[in-house]
Every structure is written in structure tokens, then in C-alpha cells.
């Protein structure tokens, strides 16, 4: 009886090890080279995901948290929507970028992009989601161990604004797990993506209109 119990335990352990190997084999291998990343992201038509943004600053006793949702449609349509604490929607579609922010008069379109920096980040996000790191004119990309990509600005002007960006790729092929944007040693923004849904149909209006 005891021997049977040991055999069952061994069998379970073996099954667990095999399962781990299989899952490892599925996950490892999609982010070892730029070609693999491009191949994995090439199958992605749409993404919808929630995000949590943590702003870390030396002045803040704890990170400032914002939450939202984003929608992506290949090749370069993006809706980046903050739901709290301030509702704000950035739309990027067919080369145009618009921003709407909640004010005392409701959602109001900004007269122009509040800052060039966000325009760059939005265009970058669309490039990353499409796996087109080599097309990036603003950043040099380096592929590191552990599904990590480090982006450093090519131009001095941009490096005054952003020191570097760390991208962590998800276990799921083609998906980014988190982004960390470093402005300096004491200031960085961490974006974590959750509940990603891939290749679900998205209305084109999502990228054109705020409601």
C-alpha cells in the first residue's frame, strides 16, 4: 500500500516535470531573436488589455497609480484610455493623434498634443505591439536575457526626456507584460498589462471616437 503511494507520488512528480517542460517549450523560443518576435507579433491583429500605471518619484511617499484600458489594431491604430484618477483618451489612427481629457465641462479635445513626449511614446507603443523594433527611428533596441528589451534614445534631445525604456515580454507569444520608462534615477513609470485579449474583433470607431 505504501509502495503504491510512493509510486503515485513519483508519477505525479514526473507528470509535473513533463508539464513544466512542455509549457517551457511553448513559451521559450518566441523571444530569442528579433525574427521570432516579429513572427509572433505578426499573427496579432488586435489586442485589448487593461493597464495599471505606477509613477515612481522621490517626492512621492508611495507610487501614484493610474488605471485604464488600451485597444490596438495592427498596424498602427491605438486607443489609450485612462479611467482613473483622471479620465483621458488618446486616439491614434491613420497617422493622426488626438487627446481628450475630462474637465469640468466634460471630455474636451486638447487643442494640440500636450507634449511631444507622449506623441513619441504612443508611436513607440504601436511599433512595439507590432514587433517592429528595427523600424524604430527614435530608439536603439537591445534584446536581453529573460524576454527583456532595452530601448535607448538615439538622439540627445530625446535622452534628456527619457533615459531608457525596459520592455518585459509576456509568456504568451506576441504580448508585452510590462513597460518601464526611466526618466532619471529617481523617476520612472511602470506600466503593467493585464487581461490581454488577442485577435477579438474591435470596432474601427474605437480609434476614431471617444464614446
Amino acid at each position: 500500500m505504501r509502495e503504491d503511494g510512493i509510486t503515485v507520488n513519483r508519477t505525479r512528480r514526473m507528470a509535473l516535470v513533463i508539464l513544466l517542460f512542455i509549457s517551457g517549450a511553448i513559451c521559450i523560443g518566441w523571444a530569442d531573436t528579433w525574427e521570432e518576435i516579429r513572427g509572433a507579433t505578426g499573427t496579432i491583429r488586435t489586442i485589448k488589455a487593461d493597464f495599471v500605471q505606477e509613477k515612481h518619484l522621490s517626492i512621492l511617499s508611495r507610487p501614484f497609480i493610474s488605471k485604464g484600458v488600451f485597444y490596438y489594431q495592427a498596424p498602427d491604430s491605438l486607443r489609450w484610455e485612462y479611467t482613473s484618477p483622471v479620465r483621458s483618451i488618446l486616439l491614434m489612427h491613420k497617422g493622426g493623434i488626438r487627446r481628450y481629457t475630462e474637465t469640468t465641462k466634460g471630455l474636451v479635445e486638447a487643442s494640440r498634443m500636450d507634449h511631444k513626449g507622449m506623441q513619441i511614446i504612443l508611436q513607440e507603443i504601436a511599433l512595439w505591439l507590432g514587433g517592429r523594433f528595427s523600424d524604430d527611428s527614435a530608439f536603439d533596441a537591445a534584446l536581453k536575457d529573460g524576454r527583456r528589451i532595452v530601448l535607448t534614445p538615439k538622439e540627445k534631445g530625446l535622452s534628456k526626456m527619457i533615459e531608457h525604456i525596459d520592455l518585459m515580454l509576456s509568456d504568451t507569444p506576441g504580448i508585452i507584460k510590462s513597460v518601464e520608462i526611466y526618466e532619471g534615477p529617481d523617476s520612472y513609470t511602470r506600466l503593467e498589462f493585464l487581461n490581454a485579449k488577442i485577435n477579438k474583433e474591435l470596432e474601427e470607431a474605437l480609434f476614431r471616437e471617444v464614446s
Partner: protein, 224 residues
Amino acid sequence: MRKFYLLLVILSQMISCAGSPELVPIQRPLGLDADRGCTTPFPEREWQFVHSIQAAMPGGQKAVIIGVTVLSPKTGMIECVMMTIEGIVLFDARYDGQMVIHRALPPFDSMDFARGLMDDVRLMFFPPGGPLIASGISEDGASICRYRTDRGMMVDIVIHGDHVWEIRQYDQDSRLVRSLKTGSDRRGTAGSQNPIPVRLELTAFGSSEYALTLNLIEARELGK
């Protein structure tokens, strides 16, 4: 021709004064010991505030940014960070007897901007630095305390009955240069004597007029 220029100068002076109401008269004067209530709007200890700031600038430009302020009323220290909703820091500076700018992206990269911002924060959160010169009741029944600052300006602290208070700052010619109004909503914070106003509306008058609406996102008393 000279007369024409003179007329132009007078006209421009009249126009620039038109948007700046003059000192509000005190109807029923009170003694100079009646100012205790006028210090209640100001925090006594070290605080950290996070606001969303709706800015209306000259030329109709509008923007919403996030402002983080840390202040120490005892030492006069102010730290300010302004960033976009996406977290990009536009301005980061500290004033503690002297100004230290850690980061300033255009168009916020001038010392004048830094000084002006610190002055506005000081007006909003610190009691006026100077003696009380008058106090009393205004025409609409609000309590007024009038201070003369060390820069020769005058500051009125106006307390209305509905928990709304105002700060009015006048220049040496008694023209209104800044006006701060609170909403009536307050947020109570554990351990603090005075609930924090949820909304602050600052209007700057003069050659470069602007308006800021600050909505409180977070208030934290530090060093507790």
C-alpha cells in the same frame, strides 16, 4: 502725434486695469485680534498633495496635468512636480531658501516660470508673510483679514459662511493680481485639524492671464 501716443498709453492702461478689480472695501471693521479664523485655510504641518490641474492659458490653450506638491509651513520648503497624465515629468523643482530645478522641459524651462509657480503655491498653502493691517466684514457678510506682505503687496483672506474661502492678492496699486477660490466640498483626513478643500481655482490677472483649477486626488500628512 504725441497726443495720439499719450491717448494710446492711457487707453492701454485703462484696458489692463479693467480686468483687475480694486481692493474690496471692508464695511464693518473689527479689531486686529479677530484674525484667528483667517489662518484656518492653511495647513500647519508637512503635507503632500496630488492634484489634477486644469490650466487655461492665454490664447485659449488648455491642458490637464498632474501636480504633486510637498510643503512644510514651518520651514517654507516647497517641492513641486508637474507631469502629464501619462507620467512624463515636465517640471521638478524644490524651493528651500533657494531654488533648485531638477528638471524642466520647454516651455517650463525658465527661472521666471519656477519663481511664479512657487509664488502661486505659497499663496495657496501658506499664510501671508506680513502683518495684519485690517479685519472686518465685507458687504456680502464674509469675514476679511487684510495683510501687507514684505513685498509691499496686500493679501485678503476672505472666509464665507458656506465653508468657501478666498485669497485675493493685490499689487502696490491695489489692483487684483491673483484670486484663489475654494469649492465648498472638503475631504477630511485622519489626524488633520482642517478638512482639505477638494477644489481650488486660481486666477492670475494682468499682462499674462491664466486660470488653474486644481482637483484634489490625494492628500497625505507627512512625518506622522
